[in-house]
Amino acid sequence: METVKNHFLGDIGVMLGSSMRHITRSMDTIITVTIMPIAFMLLFVYVFGGAIQTGTDDYVNYLLPGILLIAIATGTSYTAYRLFMDMQRGIFERFKSMSIARSATLWGHVLTSLVSNAISVAVIILVALVMGFRSSAGVLSWLAIAGILALFTLALTWTAVIVGLSAKSVDGASAFSYPIVFLPFISSAFVPTESMPPAVRAFAENQPMTAIVDAIRALLSGQTVGNDLWVALAWCIGIMLVAYIFAMRAYKKRV
């Protein structure tokens, strides 16, 4: 058993390397993951933006956090897809018959998700800059934003792992993101929750997306972040831990 433990990180590194090659060799996943959120951003800023009253002068500044969450939600659905496809491949069987830490394959996928989502987030921020996005956030605030986004990515990725492991078909594996992509629309991501009817507003203000969006928005605009930060972190870490436990359980059943 020791030998397996000693090589755990090395094994994950090899898995990460090969799955990153898969992504860079078929750029279409990165493109689809970034194009849709960018299209939303263009649509909301240049088409609807004029009619939306957010109380800020620059709608792109207001919008960006929600767009990033949508991008990550779509991005993580590819983890479910990739994991599902991986387990159909003969090479997975080979890995299972080798003396490799069993969870190395899973961690490889999870790290791949972190890296590829970081890339698409960076691309979207660049596009936003071109569209006039400006931020007064300092280095610490940016680090905090990166941290929140990373935790959000991990929470959704581990959820995606459960889906990828238990899905019966490719379509099932990739469909899981739809409701999550939809959630930011019923949050403070696009319009202030005050403008919503009471029932919807109650939902919007108590679902994780609003806290996460508000925390990032406050950090970006250099305002003090209140409770939102802690609520956002609690949601992300809570979902992540629960999903991690269930994902590992589902994985043990499979291998």
Binding site: V14, R21, R89, G90, F92, R94, S97, S99
Partner: protein, 252 residues
């Protein structure tokens, strides 16, 4: 003789379907063992149990003297599996595939190992092309090459030549013979009786969940009713032995 594999009264069912009823056989160290059986006989099921991918329902199985359920980690360290369907990463090149496996086997000189195997399997020219562009024969060679990384003591080849043309088949046969010459134990499954005749020191026939005969080709031939006298005297081929035995069993 020292044993690489010892299987005793192995049982495995999938739901109601009893695939392995009671399978017993031994494989001597350094030998080539061929497991013969028709489609669905349970050959892959046996390979998967021995390679620790499936848990048996009953009986014992030991690989390199390690029990497959109790000491599965030890078993994995001492074997290599070439499954029925090519286990290569299509997106990676041949070289990258080999390097990946060498790293996962924690070898220090993974590049050198990859180069040597590419040479040995005639894949040097295709080394830097994606495996998805390989022909069936090349893919199978890469697949087997990946199984040889790290020089395992025992290698499983599940139908290594199914779907290959005669030339590619002979190439694979040569690899298998070479392996056995270098002291590696080879466990192969096949539907081709000729393949078993060509390669194997030990042959076992799996039928309806049991090993119905096993032994060397000579022993099998001896057990079979005397050579038929037709117009000319003819030694029974393994094919005839097989069909005759199955026929006999089914008559009962």
């Amino acid at each position: 003789m020292e044993k690489s594999i010892q299987v005793k009264e192995l049982k495995k069912s999938f739901k109601q379907h009893q695939v392995l009823k009671s399978v017993t056989f031994d494989v001597g160290k350094g030998s080539i063992f061929a497991l013969l059986g028709s489609n669905g006989a349970g050959k892959t099921t046996i390979v998967k149990i021995l390679a620790t991918l499936l848990k048996p329902d009953g009986g014992n199985a030991a690989v390199n003297n390690f029990d497959v359920t109790a000491k599965s980690e030890k078993v994995r360290q001492s074997i290599s599996l070439t499954g029925q369907f090519a286990a290569v990463d299509e997106i990676l090149t041949g070289r990258e595939n080999l390097i990946m496996i060498a790293r996962l086997r924690h070898l220090k000189n993974s590049r050198q190992v990859a180069d040597d195997l590419l040479n040995r399997f005639g894949l040097v020219d295709a080394a830097d092309r994606r495996a998805s562009t390989y022909s069936g024969g090349m893919r199978r060679r890469l697949d087997i090459a990946m199984s040889l990384v790290g020089k395992p003591r025992l290698i499983f080849l599940d139908e290594p030549t199914t779907g290959l043309d005669p030339e590619a088949r002979i190439e694979v046969w040569n690899v298998v013979k070479e392996l056995a010459n270098s002291g590696t134990t080879v466990f192969l499954t096949t539907q081709y009786l000729e393949e078993a005749e060509q390669l194997a020191d030990q042959i076992a026939i799996l039928h309806e969940g049991r090993i119905i005969v096993s032994g060397t080709l000579e022993e099998l031939k001896k057990r079979f009713p005397p050579a038929k006298v037709e117009y000319i005297e003819k030694q029974p081929s393994l094919e005839e032995i097989f069909l005759a035995i199955i026929g006999k069993k089914e008559e009962k």
